[in-house]
């Protein structure tokens, strides 16, 4: 069977774990990790060219055109909804998700955050409305997509002016985090993912999303129904591992790959051995 993943760091990590676990139990796996962006990988699954890859629960909103459904803001309801929809419409099974919520977030330089005592987005809104200096580096998608920055702005009651935004093309947080971390062009805040490994290293601090403005994105392995029927043991193999991946753990593992430059498969195997999932 073919196991794939998206092209980002976390995809490589989760994908490597899946590959290692399945091979460890004697299942023949063809690894096509870091295949491409979401659209490519999802299309490949629907077309039957790949069999399994780690996806995020919140993406159900886009897959099934239900952006405004409030269920996506609740981890349990979101998971149940996407599981039901994908099973019914595409015969794709969503296995157990990780508790880590990898959604969009705003991170700030630690020195600025500590100076102004900012820990949540509510604090941030107050800071912005009070005239504090802010320059946020973000992708065009983050700035325009109704589920991203606009969602934060309406939930917390602040508005960033054009001059307070540095918009980059492309959706990756590495560039935005680096900009904030090194203070390029006066940037002191950045678009981030909550599980980004670079946060600690670049001395950035996540601002907590107390009001749940963001959709919940929990990673879970999704597999084609026919393939699961051939290998029903996969569910039991992957469930405990994914359930063990908390936000902090994912951040640490991502940091090892992104910051320390260790190989994703090596980091994955080390985690699995260290926690008794594999020898």
């Amino acid at each position: 069977m073919v196991v794939a993943s998206k092209i980002d760091t976390e995809g490589a990590l989760l994908g490597s774990m899946i590959v290692a676990l399945l091979r460890g139990r004697g299942i023949a796996v063809d690894s096509r990790l870091q295949l491409g962006p979401t659209q490519i990988v999802r299309q490949a699954l629907l077309a039957g060219q790949i069999d399994l890859y780690p996806e995020y629960t919140g993406n159900g909103a886009i897959f099934f055109n239900r952006e405004n459904d409030p269920a996506w803001h609740d981890p349990a309801r979101g998971y149940v909804l996407v599981k039901q929809l994908d099973r019914a419409q595409n015969d794709i099974v969503w296995l157990a998700p990780a508790p880590a919520d990898n959604s969009w977030a705003i991170a700030m330089r630690r020195d600025v955050a500590q100076k102004h005592r900012l820990t949540t987005l509510e604090d941030f809104a107050g800071y912005v409305n009070g005239g504090g200096t802010v320059k946020l580096a973000a992708s065009a998608e983050f700035v325009d997509s109704p589920g991203a920055l606009p969602a934060f702005e309406s939930a917390y009651g602040f508005r960033l002016a054009r001059g307070q935004l540095l918009t980059l093309v492309g959706g990756d947080t590495s560039a935005t985090l680096r900009a904030a971390g090194e203070g390029i062009s006066g940037v002191n805040a950045a678009m981030a993912y909550t599980t980004d490994g670079a946060l600690a290293v670049l001395k950035l601090q996540l601002l907590a999303d107390d009001k749940r403005a963001q959709t919940v994105y929990q990673p879970a392995p999704i597999i084609r129904g026919t393939v699961l029927a051939q290998h029903p043991e996969i569910e039991a193999i992957l469930d405990p591992v994914f359930r063990s991946l908390t936000l902090t753990r994912l951040q640490q593992l991502n940091a090892k790959i992104a910051a320390d430059g260790e190989e994703a498969s090596a980091v994955a195997s080390a985690y699995l051995s260290a926690n008794g999932f594999q020898k």
């Binding site: 870091q34 590495s174 670049l202 430059g261 190989e263």
Partner: protein
């Protein structure tokens, strides 16, 4: 000795090389993969032992730029610049190893802009020296081969292991070789299919000139479509047709479409470029049109055709990098992962082999073309 430099090119290049080497950043020392490194000069980066010989070679080249231009001074120039180039590259490896030895494993030592600027200048000096010596092909080939061999030997001996580029490679060794293999297969498949379609098409247009404007017009239009767009556009219709290969199929189709124009054009030019009196004589002595095609037109048109094949192969090697965007794999995977992670060394891991592959293919095909040139006609 003159007060003005006799060899102004050498003078200018060596001044820039020395300035960049001395003042620019030789390497950048970063605590991890994500942050920018602190720029360091050669002597700061533990290059004390190499700094002196390099300075002497630089001084020698500076002096030579004032000297009378004789065969001896030219040879001396070639020798000094070759030595300087190799020593400079050697120094990069040594500094990286020295810095890594005393640092935590997450440290990254990247090559700085000063390093690259000086390499570029020294390479230009070597080329200039070969040019002024009026070096024939063998000497040029030996010089290039010597440089490549020296660098390869250093690399194999692990001399460059301290550099961040080597660390990226080490973390992905098996993936690197499988993606390299996949890249080569994609290029070969695309070029082979383009040949199979394009060469007969070129013969057809040569035989039927009225079809020319239409066919060339369509192919020209194809070339103007941005490659990324074409790769993306092909996924939907192909998956509707049920064609699999996760990205390999649309990638190869797009590559074939881009490769058709040079092949058709050069096949056509090769055939129509044959002296018409030769064709007349061939008809007159009783060769059938098919015999004329295979025995006269194609052999005589071969050099032009091979030139087209060369262009197509080099172009395909570069375009295949884009194919990684749609899941086709290849060296482009590293380029895009590197862009996503803002890890420029990962981008280099994809880009440098692509460039070397293109240069090697270009060289090999030029060699093959030269073999056919030796025989016939002016």
């Amino acid at each position: 000795m003159n007060s003005m430099p006799r060899n102004r090119v050498l003078f200018a290049l060596i001044i820039v090389a020395v300035a960049a080497g001395a003042l620019g950043s030789f390497v950048a020392d970063a605590p991890n993969r994500l942050v920018s490194g602190q720029p360091l000069g050669l002597w700061q980066a533990g290059g004390a032992t190499t700094a002196l010989p390099l300075a002497l070679l630089g001084a020698a080249l500076l002096v030579l730029s004032f000297a009378r231009i004789t065969r001896a001074t030219r040879l001396a120039g070639l020798g000094c610049s070759l030595a300087a180039l190799l020593l400079w590259i050697f120094a990069a490896g040594s500094s990286a190893s020295a810095l890594m030895a005393a640092a935590p494993p997450a440290t990254r030592i990247a090559l700085g802009w000063g390093f690259w600027a000086t390499v570029f200048c020294l390479a230009m000096i070597v080329l200039d020296a070969l040019q002024r010596l009026d070096a024939h092909g063998l000497l040029r080939l030996s010089t290039v081969a010597a440089i490549v061999a020296a660098i390869a030997a250093m690399a194999l001996a692990g001399h460059f292991d301290g550099l961040s580029l080597a660390r990226e490679y080490a973390a992905r060794r098996s993936a690197f070789w499988s993606e390299l293999e996949r890249h080569c297969w994609l290029v070969l498949a695309a070029v082979a299919i383009a040949l199979a379609i394009g060469a007969p098409l070129g013969v057809f247009v040569a035989r039927r000139p009225s079809a020319g404007p239409g066919i060339f017009g369509a192919l020209n239009l194809m070339q103007t479509i941005p490659s990324v767009a074409l790769f993306g556009l092909l996924i939907a219709p192909l998956s509707a047709l049920g064609v699999g290969g996760i990205g390999a199929a649309p990638a190869i189709i797009a590559l074939v479409l881009y490769s058709l124009l040079p092949i058709v054009r050069n096949t056509h030019a090769g055939i129509t470029g044959v002296d018409p009196t030769v064709i007349d004589a061939a008809s007159g002595v009783g060769l059938t049109p098919t015999q004329i095609l295979w025995r006269v037109e194609l052999p005589l048109g071969l050099p032009v055709f091979l030139a087209g094949l060369r262009i197509v192969t080099v172009q395909a090697i570069g375009l295949t990098v884009i194919a990684a965007l749609i899941g086709a794999g290849g060296l482009g995977s590293f380029v895009f992962q590197g862009i996503g992670q803002y890890a420029l060394d990962l981008v280099l891991l994809g880009a440098l082999p692509t460039i070397l592959l293109a240069l090697a293919a270009d060289f090999a095909l030029a060699l093959i073309a030269a073999c056919f040139e030796r025989n016939p006609a002016p």
